[in-house]
């Protein structure tokens, strides 16, 4: 369904080159959910945008290939990629600002549908919008309302509706619940799970919330400083995290099964990507760092069912 190979995104800033995504490869089967986790600024969102070639200037995709459902994304013209974009659903981080304040909810749908399906008239598009909203438990007569008349959770449901309006096979959700409270978050996640089953969606879920990933994802990719440092099946990673960074991430999240365990933070903060550390980019913060870590960059190697980039497993 999705095949990303050696994808590299650079932001060429005045201060220097920032490699936000560094040779990331991943592949995703139809109907699977991939969770991408990592701290702020590790390149998760950029990766999500890059999949539909939506990297904002001064960023560029400097290397790599992306194949969605047999289509080589990197070879498409601007007009062709524009058409693909609607077919790949995209759900944004902040529902409060992701809808155009001067457009009615229904018109968001009408425009989206009309952009991609010329022959659909406004009435039909509105009918479809109403149906989608109904399925997301928003009363259909509210298509005439403006975004500010909706609550945060409802807006996020609208965003999800927009993401699903053109029956995409691939849905990219960039922190879909970050700005929502936990109850609404649970509802949205339940909804996404159900939609995933109903439409047999392939989902890329980008988040820093380990709990969401545990609940939703089949596969996890852990990103650090633009690179995938560990990737594997969700159960495996939760049971036995290999990379010290993954271990740190899991320890820093509250665990309801073991409330007596205190949360342990990872000291320091993600590196400045203009001048990243030598060798393994995690070594300055790594509790297990030893001699080769500062010298050589670890390769992403296969270990059982898992991929991991750490000198501990060389």
């Amino acid at each position: 369904m999705l095949e990303v190979c050696s994808l590299t995104v650079d932001y060429r800033t005045r201060a220097g080159n920032v490699r936000a995504v560094d040779h990331v490869s991943l592949s995703l089967e139809k109907g699977q959910t991939l969770g991408v986790v990592g701290e702020s600024g590790c390149g998760k969102s950029t990766l999500g945008f890059a999949v539909i070639r939506l990297v904002q200037s001064p960023g560029t995709i400097s290397e790599g290939s992306i194949v969605i459902d047999g289509t080589d994304i990197m070879r498409l013209s601007e007009e062709e990629i524009r058409r693909v974009r609607g077919r790949v659903g995209f759900i944004f981080q902040d529902p409060m600002t992701s809808l155009n304040p001067v457009k009615k909810i229904g018109d968001h749908f009408v425009e989206l549908i009309h952009t991609h399906e010329k022959n659909v008239n406004k009435k039909e598009a509105l009918k479809r919008a109403a149906k989608i909203l109904e399925s997301l438990e928003i009363r259909s007569e509210r298509v005439g309302d403006y975004p500010h008349q909706f609550s945060g959770g409802m807006r996020q449901r609208v965003m999800i509706g927009l993401g699903l309006a053109l029956n995409p096979k691939l849905l990219i959700a960039d922190e879909p619940t970050t700005s929502l409270d936990v109850i609404v978050e649970a509802q949205i996640l339940e909804l996404m799970n159900q939609l995933k089953r109903d439409y047999n969606l392939t989902l890329i879920l980008i988040t820093h919330n380990i709990g969401i990933i545990a609940e939703m994802a089949d596969t996890i990719a852990v990103m650090y400083a633009g690179q995938i440092v560990e990737m594997g099946r969700t159960e495996d990673i939760f049971e036995d995290p290999l990379h010290p960074y993954t271990q740190g991430l899991l320890k820093s999240a509250p665990n309801i099964m073991h409330p007596e365990r205190s949360m342990i933070t990872i000291p320091g903060s993600p590196p400045d990507l203009i001048s990243p550390p030598s060798g393994c980019k995690f070594h300055p913060r790594c509790p297990n760092a030893f001699e080769p870590c500062a010298l050589r960059e670890p390769k992403l190697i296969q270990r059982g069912q898992r991929l991991v980039a750490c000198h501990l497993y060389d």
Binding site: S57, R82, Q93, T97, S98, N100, P101, L112, T115
Partner: protein, 294 residues
């Protein structure tokens, strides 16, 4: 549907909105007072052919340089022209110049600001450079230079004024576009495959309009003052057109002779009209800019 019918319908639709302004506190009242001022002057101007007691450009309709009397309530000037008739007719030029120059400003500043800024990079740099250079000139001096080059006439005067004020539109539009184009909903539209044109006109433009409206209203006032200034220095219309600016010019020469009425009344009219537009503009910008609400 007849034109009168549709005008009536528009008025009926506008009326409740106007009443809504009352709930907006001081800003609402500012807009209401400004609108009343402007509307009265517009009505007087429209009704000029019927309500003006004399021909505004005919000379010797009354005594020369007479102080206000019941027959000539605002006095007469040195040519024996009736000042009241001249005041009633004089608004035409001012309003024409104001409307045309603001229209030209919008027609030039808005598209350039929108397209160049949205495109970014070189187009943005070049247009900003040009606009900033124009902006750096003192307004009236530049208007005088252009008006002198173009010659007389309502349109030429409006163009001269428009050139001066285009950069302020451009800058307002630019700052708005810069903000709006980075907002998540614009990015969302792009991610969902929206065309650049659609994004520009349906997402960016409508969110730029409110600030443009308040700038435009305030610019009406600026245009009127600049127009009066241009006429005052002798670059306005021909003497045969009744114009508050001309009356100011004459009035200045007549003031030492004790004829205060020739300069006072056109001066007051210019101030009232400019004040009206300024009040509307300030009030609107206060109502429409969210940071000033609460």
């Amino acid at each position: 549907m007849s034109r009168a019918g549709s005008t009536g319908r528009i008025l009926v639709q506008l009326l409740p909105r106007f009443v809504q302004l009352k709930g907006r506190g001081v800003a609402g009242w500012t807009v209401i007072i400004g609108s009343v001022l402007v509307a009265s002057i517009v009505v007087i101007t429209i009704l000029a052919p019927w309500i003006s007691p004399h021909n505004p450009i005919a000379i010797n309709v009354g005594p020369i340089l007479a102080a206000p009397t019941p027959e000539f309530p605002l006095g007469t000037n040195h040519l024996g022209q009736d000042m009241l008739s001249r005041i009633i007719w004089g608004g035409v030029t001012m309003l024409q110049v104001a409307v045309i120059s603001v229209a030209v400003c919008l027609a030039v500043g808005l598209p350039i600001g929108l397209l160049a800024t949205y495109a970014g990079g070189l187009p943005d740099k070049v247009s900003s450079l040009v606009m900033d250079s124009v902006y750096a000139f003192p307004g009236l001096v530049l208007a005088i230079a252009i008006a002198a080059m173009l010659g007389r006439g309502v349109v030429n005067m409006s163009v001269a004024i428009a050139v001066v004020y285009v950069p302020s539109y451009y800058r307002i539009v630019r700052s708005q576009v810069l903000t709006v184009k980075e907002l998540p909903y614009v990015e969302a539209a792009r991610a969902l495959g929206g065309r650049s044109g659609t994004i520009l006109f349906r997402y960016v433009l409508p969110n730029v309009v409110p600030s443009i409206v308040s700038v435009a209203t305030i610019n009406f006032a600026d245009a009127i003052l600049t127009a009066a200034g241009l006429t005052f220095v002798g670059l306005g219309l021909s003497v045969a057109v009744p114009d508050w600016g001309w009356d100011l010019t004459y009035g200045r020469q007549l003031l030492p002779a004790g004829a205060w009425w020739v300069i006072t009344f056109p001066g007051v009219m210019i101030v009232l009209l400019a004040l009206g537009f300024t009040l509307i503009g300030e009030g609107l910008s206060e109502i429409m800019s969210p940071r000033l609400e609460q």
